[in-house]
């Protein structure tokens, strides 16, 4: 079966920069793909490209986005608009500002249904109440007339999710859905997303920089660095045996209770430098920050090497370090 979403060699260009380069990934129906990377690695732009909602100055310069056997880049504005919300939906990082402040939440959920399913006002309101129940908002029939400022951040994000799943999309893109929420609420919201994914048989593209989220909720992980995919793996493999030096750095830079790496070793390590140093460099984008960089790294961008069908890594020097799961000797 063909995957639901197939992104092939996607390159996004601004007039002076290419924040996403040659990115490929696939999402099958009902699967959660996590895209991980630090700020500026092109995660959010990728999401906007999937929705065809890139900022005016940005353009997809090459590549294909195939969703459900349709090339999204070939659709006109009207076809794309009909697709958005009905087949692909998106939830955003900031639940505080993603809801219209002067409209009740019931009205806002109903709006989606009026647009796509041509429901009347009354029917849309009924469905809005059902959807609020679906995202576990208590006393939904009272809450439906509330305005966004009357809700907490977690509840607003639930409302956003209700709007996104209102027409039962096949693909839900969640762009850092929990970054603005505190940790307990974060788990609830992600649980809710996961439950809805199974219930509605949606595929989810979960964009995050939180490795804990990846470990718990993803079926497949793509690690991005400076607009490129540097590693792709199943979450278990990624956490037990990170191959790319950047992934190793990320993992050793995050605190983990049951860590193989440095539970007792005190300080967290950091990745030196910043992602800005990737700009204008020839060769591997991670080279300026990589402690195991060699002269040959500057010659060309390392191609993705398939270790197994699910495991891709864009670094030729991984096997020698595989057997050393100790942070101190990881050169990071």
């Amino acid at each position: 079966m063909a995957p639901l979403l197939q992104v092939e060699n996607l390159t996004i260009g601004f007039p002076r920069a290419e924040p996403v380069r040659d990115l490929s990934f696939e999402v099958s129906a009902g699967e959660t793909l996590a895209i991980v990377g630090e700020s500026g690695s092109g995660k959010s732009l990728t999401a906007l490209a999937l929705m065809q909602l890139l900022p005016r100055t940005a353009r997809v310069t090459s590549g294909r986005i195939v969703f459900d056997d349709r090339d999204l880049l070939g659709l006109d504005a009207r076809e794309m608009r009909q697709l958005r919300g009905r087949e692909i939906a998106m939830i955003f990082q900031e639940p505080m500002t993603s809801l219209n402040p002067v409209m009740s939440i019931g009205w806002q959920i109903g709006e989606v249904l009026k647009v796509h399913e041509k429901l009347s006002g009354r029917a849309a309101r009924e469905r809005a109440i059902e959807l609020l129940r679906l995202v576990r908002i208590p006393a939904a029939e009272k809450r439906v007339d509330d305005y966004p400022h009357q809700l907490s951040g977690g509840m607003r994000q639930r409302v956003m999710i209700a709007m996104a799943v209102a027409c039962r999309p096949k693909l839900l893109i969640a762009d850092e859905p929990t970054t603005a929420l505190d940790v307990t609420i974060q788990a609830q919201v992600l649980d809710l997303l996961d439950t809805l994914r199974r219930e509605l048989q949606m595929a989810v593209v979960l964009i995050t920089h939180d490795l804990g989220v990846v470990a718990q909720w993803a079926d497949k992980v793509v690690v991005m660095y400076a607009g490129r995919k540097v590693e792709q793996a199943l979450p278990g493999d990624l956490f037990n045996d990170p191959l790319h030096p950047y992934t190793r750095g990320l993992l050793s830079a995050s605190p983990r209770l049951k860590s193989d790496f440095h539970y007792l070793s005190g300080r967290l390590t950091e990745i030196p430098g910043s992602i800005v140093s990737a700009a204008g460099e020839a060769g591997c984008p991670f080279r300026p920050r990589c402690r195991q960089a060699r002269a040959s790294c500057g010659h060309q961008v390392p191609p993705l090497i398939a270790q197994t069908p699910e495991r891709l890594v864009a670094c030729p020097f991984t096997s020698s370090l595989k057997a050393v799961p100790d942070a101190a000797s990881l050169s990071l």
């Binding site: 919300g85 998106m90 129940r133 009357q150 977690g154 509605l200």
Partner: protein, 332 residues
């Protein structure tokens, strides 16, 4: 993966989402004890926390303001007078009914006296309110509609559409507006309708500029992006997502626009460019102008009517500004 209690949550089919804890809620509506305990943030908020919606709060602020209250009361009086004028004085106010130059309170039949041709001043003022209000309200409604539509389109779409419309606005703004008004009225036959249209033509650019500025700011907000990501079309985004958020300054401006339109109509009538067959406050001042040293009440009384009506509208504008200004509003 998920720890959510999904057993209490039957499959979503045909839009029939089940409420997980309806029974418990029925017994304890204050604090619904959920079978699904994954939403403490939702439970911690009392349901009736904020019952006052935006609109109600704004109304409260507005009517707590004595100036605004006075303005509203006076405007209501003027409207009542305008509606009742044909009942109180069924005769043509331009007909000669008494001795000329009767001062106010001189003859009980003419409480505000008569003018140089023996016409009843009170009847003139009462009937004059009709034309002033008609011109003020209709010209504002027309100017507002056109200005909002032009400003919304320019501000929302930007690009060449914006350039084109801004040029159009600038053409109107570079011409002295009152001179343009005089020219417009002089070209066509002066009547209440043409004067109204001419005032609308010169007053829309202000609204258009204001609306454009609001739209440019609001279109960048996250909730507009969220609406686009849900497949909402441009028309709905403009009129149902952005416009309600842009309304407060537009409403405030519109009350001042009514006042300005009344002043313009008076000025035109004063110059003899108004409808000669209808009495208006401005034409009364115009005819009394030559007698200002002998019978000053002929200019002062309609002048006071204009002053108080315009003052009332400005007070309403100020009150609306206080009530609707986001800086004073806790929820935006």
């Amino acid at each position: 993966m998920s720890t959510t209690d999904f057993g209490a949550f039957p499959a979503v089919t045909g839009g029939a989402y089940a409420a997980p804890a309806t029974n418990e809620q029925a017994t304890a509506p204050e604090r619904p004890s959920w079978s699904n305990m994954k939403a403490p943030d939702a439970r911690s908020q009392p349901n009736a926390a904020v019952a006052v919606t935006n609109g109600h709060r704004a109304l409260k602020v507005f009517f707590a303001n004595p100036n605004a209250l006075f303005g509203t009361a006076f405007l209501a009086l003027v409207i009542a007078v305008a509606l009742l004028a044909p009942v109180l004085y069924p005769d043509d106010p331009l007909s000669m009914v008494g001795k000329p130059f009767l001062w106010p309170c001189q003859d009980p039949a003419f409480p505000l006296g008569t003018d140089s041709l023996g016409r009843d001043v009170l009847a003139g003022i009462l009937h004059g309110s009709r034309i002033s209000l008609f011109v003020g309200l209709v010209a504002t409604a027309l100017g507002l509609t056109f200005g909002v539509v032009v400003g919304a389109i320019a501000g929302y779409f930007g690009g060449w559409v914006d350039d084109l419309l801004v040029r159009l606005i600038e053409i109107f703004q570079t011409l002295p507006s009152f001179v343009l008004l005089v020219v417009l009225v002089a070209i066509v036959q002066p009547s209440a309708t043409t004067v109204t249209l001419a005032i609308a033509v010169i007053s829309w650019p202000t609204v258009a500029r204001l609306t454009r500025a609001e739209f440019r700011a609001i279109r960048e907000k996250d909730f507009v992006m969220a609406a686009r990501s849900l497949g909402v079309g441009h028309g709905r985004i403009i009129f149902r997502e952005i416009l309600p958020n842009a309304l407060p300054p537009i409403i405030v401006t519109s009350s001042v626009m009514v006042a300005t339109a009344i002043l313009m109509e008076s000025a035109l009538s004063f110059m003899g460019l108004g409808d000669p067959n209808v009495v208006s406050w401005g034409s009364m001042i115009g005819t009394g102008r030559e007698l200002v040293r002998t019978a000053w009440y002929l200019t002062a009384l309609p002048g006071l009517a204009i002053v108080f009506t315009v003052l009332a509208l400005n007070l309403i504008g100020d009150g609306l500004n206080d009530a609707l200004n986001p800086r004073f509003s806790q929820d935006r």
